[in-house]
Symmetry: C2
Subunit: 95 residues, 2 copies
């Protein structure tokens, strides 16, 4: 699934609650999920780790929806600047 | 771009450095980016906000690469359980 489509799916499901909670509220939830991800990593529980990764991404896009940021666009704007060689080989060049 | 493809792109670019830094190191970077996102939100600087969202996603997939989690699979496993109606209307049902 495209990053953009995941963000839109979360918007359809949660936007009215996200906007009510506001930027600070959604940011706090994101921080809480980051903390829970650390707990899962410490426990080394595969299932929990996967669920917490899912939750961090979910709250990241909820926060992005609240402030009107397209996460896919923002991510590609910053990181999709690799050379054609990078795309087809495991070289470590970065520019 | 698919979530999976973004994760693979970041793997091609950064995996050798990510694995060297280790889980704790990458988690610390993720936390730092979460903090910088808060700063950007407080400043209300559009360009910075977009860059910090990009960085949080980048470090989230770097961490996922380090522990061998497919972020797209994990996210869809947890959140892509909406009813057919949810996909086509802005209803708020959740199950």
């Amino acid at each position: 699934m495209h990053i953009h489509d995941f963000q839109e799916m979360m918007r359809r499901l949660y936007f009215s609650r996200d906007i009510e909670r506001g930027t600070k509220g959604n940011y706090s939830w994101l921080v809480e999920e980051i903390r829970e991800l650390e707990e899962a990593l410490d426990k080394n529980s595969r299932k929990e780790i996967e669920r917490e990764f899912a939750d961090v991404l979910a709250w990241l896009v909820s926060l992005a929806n609240t402030v009107g940021v397209d996460l896919e666009k923002a991510a590609l704007e910053k990181y999709d600047r690799v050379c054609p060689k990078c795309r087809t080989c495991p070289c470590q060049c970065k520019f």
